[in-house]
Every structure is written in C-alpha cells, then in structure tokens.
C-alpha cells in the first residue's frame, strides 16, 4: 500500500527547500560581505616602528633580507626560547596606536568610501581594508595608497596662513576634564609643547589674542581655537568639545603630529575593480555549473536517493550562505574556493550513507530496514571523518591570517552544515521515501538489480 501522506510530506519538504532557496539565495548574495579581492579595493598592513632614539629611523634598505633557511632556523630559535622578539622590545604605546588609527580614519574619510576597515592587529600593526567603487573617479586606488603612506603633517598657522609650529614641537595632546567658571566639569583637550614649541606658541598666542589659530592636519583644518590669553608655559587647553569622546578624537588627531614612530608598510595589495568582479562572477558560474554536474552525477548513480541528496545539497547551499551572512563572515577568493570544495565534500556524507544502504539492500534487507541500519552504521564513520577535518580547519583558523582565516571559517561552516544536512535532512527525506512504500523496485534505490 502506498502511504500517500508520507509521500506528500516528502514532496512538501522538497518544495519547501526549493522555495527557500529561490527566495533566500538572491537576498543572501546581496547581503554577503565581500573581501577586497572580490570587489576591488585596497588592503594595507602597517607596522609602527619606534623612532625614539634621536630620530634614527631605520631605513628600509638597511633591513637585511634573510633567506628561507635563516627564516626557518630563526623561527625554531624563537620557538625554543630564543628572543627573536628583540625588535619589538621598544614599545609603541596603545595611545600612539589609537592616535595613528584616528589619523588614518581622518585621511580615508576624505574619499567617501563605504565601510572602511581600519583596525589594530596585535600590538603594533594596523590593517586597512578599503573597498573602492569603480564608478567613482574620486576613489582612485593610487591616490588612496599615496594618502595612506604620507607622514602626518600637523601645523599651527597664524592669521596670514603661515605655518608657525609643526607637530614636531608638540609633546602630547590628551583629553581631560576641566572645571569651568560655572563650576562644571567640561571636556577639553590639553596640549603640551617642548621648549622650542612653547616659545613659538607664546609668540603666536601673544600676537593673536582674540583671534583664531587654525590647526591643520594634512592640510585640513581639524580645529580653530580662539586665543583667550597669551600662553607662555607651553601648556594649552582647547575648550569647546561637546563630549569627552569628541575631545579624545581631537586629541588623537593632534597627537598624530607628535608620534615617535614610523609607519612601515608591510603589505600592500590593491585589486582593480574589474579583476575582483570578474573573479567573483567566474567563480560563481563555475560553482553553479559544478553543482549542476554533481546533481546529474548523483541522479545517474544513485537514482531516487540521488534526487533526495540533490535537495539536501540545495538545503546545504542555502544554510552555508545563510550562516556566512549570519556570522558576518567575509567572503574572499580563497573562501569561494573553500566553499565550492565543501560542496564536493557535502556530497560525501550522502555517499557514505547510500553506499551503506546499498550494502544492506544487497544483503537482502527490506528498503526500510536498509535505510535504518545504513544511517546507523554510517554515523560513526561520518563523525570521525568530519571531526578530523574540523581539527584541521580549527588549527588553520587559529594560526592563519587574512585570507587563510576566511578560508578556514568557510571550511568549518561547510563541514558542520554538511553533517547536519546529511544526518538530518537526508535522513528525514529518506525515511519518508521508504516508509511511503512508493519504491517497489530496488533498482530505483541504486542497486544493480
């Protein structure tokens, strides 16, 4: 007897999966975060190197480039207690890093980029990721790189627009609270000059009482305080900040002119917009065609279970893409490759199960009993096989940087979801399939005769 309700439930599940895919995939593709390599843009990794000791900045040319062997041995030295951290012994303060990031943000803002990423990595590195819009001629990648590479230029100018003091004479700038004439605590920015700067500042303030002395950073006015009285001790206070955060931001920008460090570009990558978009489109098409071929292959080889697996695969694709969006993961080119690879691997769990079911059928068991024991016996195999791969993904994530890390995330998401789809979605569908009694002929289940 054919169990029509079971058969209908199966068809309903398949329809739901197909509908979910049709609705969600376009939405997901629109919302997924693309890496610089896929949408075009600029990636820069900077390292702050202290220049305290009398401004003796190491020139790039002086750095001797070690060969591979020296690198490997150097690394093992470092691993077993040798101090290859020597270079970083001179500290760069967290405050200085914050100031540098503030300056970079300020510079990048001028280009009107969408969602610029400027983040600190480790103690003294800054990672910048900027996606550029190819249709906006303002967002020229060469200009952006040039702007990022500039040394911060902080200037105090007089009424005639002449530069009187530069950031070199500024010792520090910090946000603080000061009690005003009404007894309220108001946020201010406190400035501190060196002796030369104090002298220059004294001259400037004396001659400009009641006037504004605009402060320029990289040629742009960041503040234009009005001189209330002559300041001769080299310690000034800028009032008028609305909140302590605003004061901190201004202090950060001011401090940039007095940073005792040099920014070295460790890594610069700029991807032309056409290359990025081309890569994305090509890899998406390649993935789609690959997916289609896998479906055809599964249908030919496993017949009706192959159809079930195809729907499970569709559910897999939706869930993986959804998880990427949900976790705010960034899709990079290595990530796309990883994703497409996991499609191939997602089929694996189904293959293991179906091969087991075939074995049970060949042993003369009924379809229903075969599906039951097939899933049961395949479980430990799938678990062990996937957990070992997951271990590799976890280590990749832990040790990887940038693109490799993105790859590890997609791989891990892929492994976990492929297990869920195989052990849950395929299982439910296969159960409805065999218990509906619609399949009388074992050939339809993939067995030879």
């Amino acid at each position: 007897m054919i169990q029509w309700t079971k058969l209908l439930t199966l068809v309903l599940i398949m329809t739901i999966i197909a509908a979910a895919a049709a609705v969600s995939v376009p939405l997901i593709i629109e919302n997924i975060n693309l890496g610089i390599d896929l949408q075009g843009g600029v990636y820069v990794l900077l390292e702050a190197q202290p220049t305290d000791d009398g401004g003796a900045a190491t020139e790039e040319g002086e750095v001797e480039q070690p060969n591979l062997w020296q690198r490997v041995t150097g690394w093992f030295d470092g691993l077993f207690g040798g101090g290859d951290e020597g270079e970083s012994s001179s500290q760069v303060s967290a405050q200085d890093m914050a100031a540098t990031i503030a300056v970079l943000n300020n510079r990048v803002d001028a280009f009107g980029l969408s969602e610029p990423i400027i983040q600190q990595e480790g103690d003294r590195r800054i990672r910048i990721e900027l996606a550029t819009d190819p249709s906006n001629p303002e967002q020229n990648q060469r200009d952006i790189l040039e702007t990022i590479g500039k040394t911060a230029l902080l200037e105090f100018r007089n009424a005639d627009g002449e530069t009187v003091i530069t950031g070199a004479n500024l010792l520090n700038a910090r946000a603080a609270f000061q009690t005003d004439e009404f007894g309220r605590d108001v946020p201010v920015v406190a400035l501190e000059f060196d002796s030369e700067g104090a002298q220059l500042f004294a001259d400037l303030t004396e001659s400009h009482i009641g006037q504004q002395v605009p402060i320029y950073l990289d040629g742009e006015v960041i503040s234009a305080p009005q001189v209330q009285t002559a300041i001769t001790n080299g310690e000034a206070v800028i009032t008028g900040a609305g909140t302590i955060d605003e004061a901190a931001e201004l202090a950060n920008l001011l401090r940039s002119g007095a940073l005792p460090m040099e920014l070295v570009q460790l890594e610069v990558r700029s991807v032309g917009p056409t290359l990025g978009t081309d890569s994305l489109m090509l890899s998406l098409w390649a993935g789609l065609i690959g997916l289609g071929l896998v479906v055809v292959f599964m249908l030919i080889f496993y017949r009706v279970p192959g159809l079930v697996a195809s729907f499970a695969l569709l559910a897999y694709v939706v869930l993986v893409l959804g998880a990427m969006v949900g976790l705010n993961a960034v899709l990079t080119l290595p990530g796309v490759a990883g994703l497409i690879l996991t499609v191939g691997m997602a089929v694996d769990a189904n293959v293991i199960i179906f091969e087991r079911i075939k074995e049970e059928l060949n042993n003369g068991k009924s379809p229903r009993a075969s599906v039951d024991s097939g899933f049961r016996k395949a479980f430990s195999t799938i678990l062990d096989a996937n957990l070992t791969t997951l271990i590799v993904a976890a280590i990749l994530f832990w040790l990887g940087t940038g693109g490799v890390r993105g790859f590890a995330v997609t791989l891990a998401i892929g492994i976990i979801i492929s297990m869920i789809t195989a052990l849950l979605i395929t299982r439910i569908m296969m159960n409805y399939l065999v218990s509906s009694n619609v399949i009388r002929n074992k050939w339809l289940l993939g067995v030879k005769k």
Partner: protein, 304 residues
C-alpha cells in the same frame, strides 16, 4: 567488488616512491617559483593597452631604478616578467624587489609615459609585501602543519589506535609532497593560497583515510582472527572503494569547473586542489591501509 589491494601492496609502494622521485627531480632541477608572499617583493598585474613583448617590457624596466634589499641602487631589468597565457586582454605579471611607495609611483608614471592609453584601469592588481610577512607566513604554515599532525595523532589514537594514527599521517605527508612537487612541475607561484590548499588537502585526505580505517576497525570487531588479517583489510578497502571514488569524482567535478571555468585568479587554488584530491584518493586507498597491514604483519612476525 573484490580487488586485491593488500596482496599487490609492494606495487603501490613502488608507484608512490616513483611519484616522489619525479617530485625530487623537478624540485632539484626547476626548484619552486616562490611568489612575493614568501620572498617579499612587488607584484603587478597590468592590462597593457596594446601589443607588447616580454623583452620590450624588460628593456623598459632596465631604465627604472630602485633600491634593493642590500641598499644598492639597481635597475628593474632582472624582474620576473610573464605574459598571462589564455587571457583575452594583454595581461602581464611583473615581479620586482620590494618597491617603496615613491618607487611604485615612479614606475607607474613611467608606464603612463611609455605606453599610450595606460591609466589607472590598466592596473589590475598591485601587491607589495615586505620581507617580514613572508617569513611569518612560512612560520605559521609549518606550525599549522605540525600542530595539525599532533592533534590528528591524538584524536585518531583516542578513537582508533596509535598504529592507525601513524599510518594515517603517512598519506598526508605524501600528499603534501605531491602538492609541493606539482607547484614545482607546473611552476605555479607559491603564495598564500598554497598554505590554504595544503591544509585543505590534508583535511580531505585524512577524511578519506578515516573512512577506510573506520571500516577496518568495524570488520576487525567481527573477525578477531589475526590470521585472516589480510582478507579483513582487503575486504574493508573493497567495501569503501566505491565511496572513495564517487566522492573524489563529485569533488573533482566542482574543482574541475573552478579550474577550467574559474579564470586565472582561481588557478593557484584550483590546480593544486585538483591534483591534491587525486593524490589524496590514491594515498588513502593504496598507501594508508596497506601500510597499516605491513606494520601489523611485522609485529606478528616479531612476536612469533
């Protein structure tokens, strides 16, 4: 299906050793094509506005000066120049010593002066990596491989036994070596993707090996007799071989699409993945289980 995987194990070992020998020859003769991610340097992918030859570009670069790692002024004449084969446009890859921001600007301005129509859009890709990052990458890659091996040995020893763990690692080393050989034979640039690909193949291959060992473990439970060990192992490989082949084929279908339709930016991933999957399938079927059997056999003989 009943193929004699165990009986012919010496043949498989010879095949595996031959593959390793080919790799050693290629590594000795051609070496590896280290990209800037490992060596540091500047790499440009340019879409040239008209016809060009590699020697034309070399002559042009001979007129550009830069400072090399030892602080000396050199010309860029000895840079790596390669036209991208198969691209519709006139694309070329140029790899130089690490250039500073100013030197890059000089170079690009010179291109604009020399080639009519060269502009911002001609720069497909510009990458500059300092020497530090390359060393770190290598360090992290080795560390990842070591830690992954240790973690896998621990997990497999716990779930199976120590002998399985060790013999499961041998195919991984084999696959990693095959990948390095493939990068040497095809002279693919060795960059960051290499690290990701090697570790993916390690994951893929261990997966394939575990499926087979899982069967051996299960069948050993049913037949405890060590005399029939060869038969039991052989049966296990036979029972899983269809799965091994089907999974490889489906994965190869997708990766093959990436390789042949995905464009040249994906080639550094797709080509080694393609080769690695084939290698992973081979090593899990023909190396892992036979090797485990060989070890067991030795143990039995030693005991007798």
């Amino acid at each position: 299906m009943n193929l004699d995987f165990i009986g012919k194990r010496k043949l498989w070992y010879i095949i595996a050793l031959s593959i390793i020998a080919i790799g050693i020859v290629s590594l000795a003769v051609q070496g590896l094509n280290f990209g800037i991610d490992f060596t540091g340097g500047t790499r440009l992918v340019l879409d040239m506005p008209g016809e060009f030859s590699e020697s034309e570009i070399r002559d042009f670069l001979a007129g550009i000066e830069a400072t090399d790692a030892s602080g000396q002024t050199i010309t860029l004449e000895n840079s790596y120049i390669q036209r991208i084969i198969g691209s519709q446009d006139n694309e070329v890859v140029i790899r130089t010593v690490p250039l500073t921001e100013a030197e890059r600007e000089t170079l690009l301005d010179a291109f604009e002066g020399e080639w009519d129509g060269f502009n911002q859009d001609s720069i497909q890709n510009m990458e500059n990596v300092g020497p530090t990052v390359g060393g770190e990458l290598l360090r992290n890659a080795l560390l990842a491989l070591l830690l992954a091996s240790a973690a896998l040995i621990a997990y497999i020893s716990y779930r199976f036994q120590f002998k399985f763990a060790v013999t499961a690692l041998v195919p991984l080393l084999f696959d990693s070596f095959v990948l390095i050989s493939a990068f040497s034979i095809f002279q693919v640039e060795l960059n960051q993707p290499f690290v990701a690909v090697v570790l993916t193949i390690v994951g893929y291959s261990i997966n394939a090996t575990i499926v087979i060992f899982d069967r051996v473990r299960e069948n050993l439970r049913h037949s405890a007799s060590e005399k029939k060990l060869a038969g039991t192992v052989n049966l296990s490989v036979n029972q899983t071989v269809v799965r091994s082949i089907i999974t490889s084929l489906t994965t190869l279908l997708v990766v093959g699409c990436l390789l042949f339709l995905g464009g040249e930016t994906l080639t550094p991933f797709a080509l080694p993945l393609f080769i690695g999957i084939i290698s992973g399938t081979f090593s899990s079927i023909f190396i892992a289980a036979p090797l485990w059997y060989t070890w067991k056999l030795h143990e039995q003989k030693a005991r007798a």
